[in-house]
Structures are given as structure tokens and as C-alpha cells.
């Protein structure tokens, strides 16, 4: 039941991205959510880091300790990685239902610059926070 609701929620959340899909072919090989993403809330306060590897995530609190782990269900809305969040600190503490990768603000379907990708984390359709990929040798 939760999975159904969460899938419906993520469909709503991602609908704007789907509409914009015609603007640019986002099916660029290699766009991935894997890595460490540093997240701020809408007021700019640092929340912690989300570490994604395949269908698992770890949430690292702002003080550098591990919050908890959770699972991700990949959904196929759009070509960029999108997930329903199942369990873990994101769901239980922050009420997150889904997350998806987008291009930079104003160019949401442009995935050409890896270093500018944004992980949008959705609590509701209108309540989202953003995370930026921690940069390093591989980005």
C-alpha cells in the first residue's frame, strides 16, 4: 500500500520533469545518482549527506555520524535516475517519499555537465530540498 502511494506521489512530483522531457533528450548514458550528495533545506541549513550506491542509501548527519540506512526502489519516470524511498532516516526523520536527479535550475533536463547535477528530494509535491554532488576526482 505504501509503495503504491509513494509511486503515485513520485509520479506527481516528477510530472513537471516529464513534461519538459521534449526540450532535450535526457537519455544520456552514465547519468547516475551514485555518490555522496550534500543537502540543505529551503532556508539553506545543512541537513547532512545522502550516500547512494545502487539501491541502498546511507544518511550521514551534519555532525558526520551515520543516521541510518534505507532502500531505494528505482522508478522509470523520465530518463534520469528516480527513486521511491523505502525506510531509513530520509523517510522516518524527514518524511521523504522520493528523489530524482535533474540538471541545474533553469536547465532541468540538461544532464551534460555532471558537476552541476542536482538531487531533488521530495517530501511533498511542493516541499522539496536540493542536494549537490560532492565533487572530487571522478566528477
Amino acid at each position: 500500500m505504501f509503495k503504491l502511494l509513494a509511486t503515485a506521489a513520485v509520479a506527481l512530483v516528477l510530472s513537471s520533469a516529464a513534461k519538459a522531457e521534449d526540450e532535450l533528450d535526457s537519455n544520456i548514458p552514465g547519468v547516475t545518482a551514485d555518490g555522496t550528495w550534500d543537502c540543505n533545506d529551503t532556508s539553506g541549513t545543512y541537513l547532512g549527506a545522502i550516500v547512494i550506491a545502487d539501491r541502498s542509501y546511507a544518511f550521514v548527519d551534519a555532525d558526520g555520524t551515520v543516521g541510518s540506512y534505507g532502500k531505494l526502489n528505482q522508478v522509470s519516470y523520465g530518463a534520469a535516475p528516480s527513486f521511491v524511498v523505502l525506510g531509513g532516516a530520509l523517510q522516518e526523520k524527514l518524511g521523504v517519499v522520493a528523489m530524482h536527479v535533474q540538471g541545474p535550475p533553469g536547465h532541468e533536463m540538461d544532464f551534460s555537465d555532471w558537476s552541476k547535477l542536482v538531487l531533488y528530494v521530495a517530501v511533498t509535491d511542493t516541499n522539496k530540498f536540493q542536494c549537490v554532488q560532492r565533487r572530487g576526482s571522478a566528477t
Binding site: 550516500v51 550506491a53 546511507a58 551534519a62 558526520g64 555532471w114 560532492r134 576526482s137 571522478a138 566528477t139
Partner: protein, 148 residues
């Protein structure tokens, strides 16, 4: 069968760690810190070099899964991790994925800096050591950011 062999190999590689801890325990001046007590974890992105210093790519560890990111930022294969619970710091056997298939990695363990492998106090100096054989390792450094 592989798991058994990998466990045995990892046990051999880690034997010097345990021996060092026992030796140091007899020397009160040597700081030995329990990795689990300190809340150490392997989760995060680790940039890896070979012994010659060539950049190999990044390993992203989350719980018992990992992803490998190639130097050109494309994703390699995913793999699973089996937690090895008899060491203080986070240690894993690698049953699958890019690190096993391409580099021959059998295990990985979080360690302190090269000069003080058992000193976990400075989080910024932790290493993820990929074990290829008892004498061959890859060294990975945690990608720094606001949370570390």
C-alpha cells in the same frame, strides 16, 4: 566457496592488524582506539589510486552495496559487500562487482593514516584499503565535504 576463501584471505591480511593491537595493548603509551566505539563507517565516496599513484576511480559505499565510478565519471558495475564483524574498524569481503572483477579485490577495510594505521582519531585522514593479496593493496581517500 568463494566466501570461505575470501574470509580466509582477509583473515590472513588482517592478522598483522590484530597482532599490532595486541602488541600495542601491552604498551600503554600507544593509542589504540576501538573503531566501532568511535562510530567509524565506510559509507561515502572514496577516490582510489594504484600503488603508482594512478587514479583508478571512486568507490561509493552505502550500507552493504557499492558502486564504482570510473575516472571519466561513468558508472562501472555494482557490487555487494559482506560485513566482516571480527575487526574493530569497518571491514568487508567483496563477493561481486567492479572491484572484484576488474581489480581482483577480495576485501576492504577502513584504516588510519599510513604512518598510524590504527589511529582513527582524525576522520579526514582515514583510508579505505582495498585488499588484492596479502601484500598488494589499493589506497582510497574519502572525498571530503561538509559532513566529514
Amino acid at each position: 566457496m568463494f566466501k570461505l576463501l575470501a574470509t580466509a584471505a582477509l583473515a590472513l591480511v588482517l592478522a598483522d592488524t590484530v597482532q599490532a593491537q595486541q602488541t600495542a595493548a601491552e604498551e600503554p603509551d600507544t593509542p589504540i582506539l576501538d573503531g566501532n566505539t568511535l562510530g567509524l563507517f565506510a559509507d561515502g565516496t572514496w577516490d582510489c589510486n594504484d600503488a603508482a599513484g594512478n587514479y583508478l576511480g571512486a568507490i561509493v559505499v552505502a550500507d552493504l552495496s557499492y558502486a564504482f565510478i570510473n575516472p571519466d565519471a561513468t558508472v562501472g558495475k555494482y557490487g555487494k559487500l559482506n560485513k566482516d564483524t571480527w575487526v574493530d574498524a569497518p571491514g568487508f569481503i567483496i563477493p561481486s562487482g567492479e572491484v572484484k572483477d576488474r581489480f581482483g579485490g577480495i576485501g576492504m577495510i577502513v584504516k588510519g593514516p599510513l604512518e598510524h594505521p590504527e589511529d582513527y582519531r582524525d576522520r579526514n585522514k582515514l583510508r579505505l584499503q582495498i585488499i588484492i593479496t596479502a601484500e598488494t593493496f589499493l589506497q582510497c581517500a574519502r572525498r571530503q565535504g561538509p559532513a566529514t
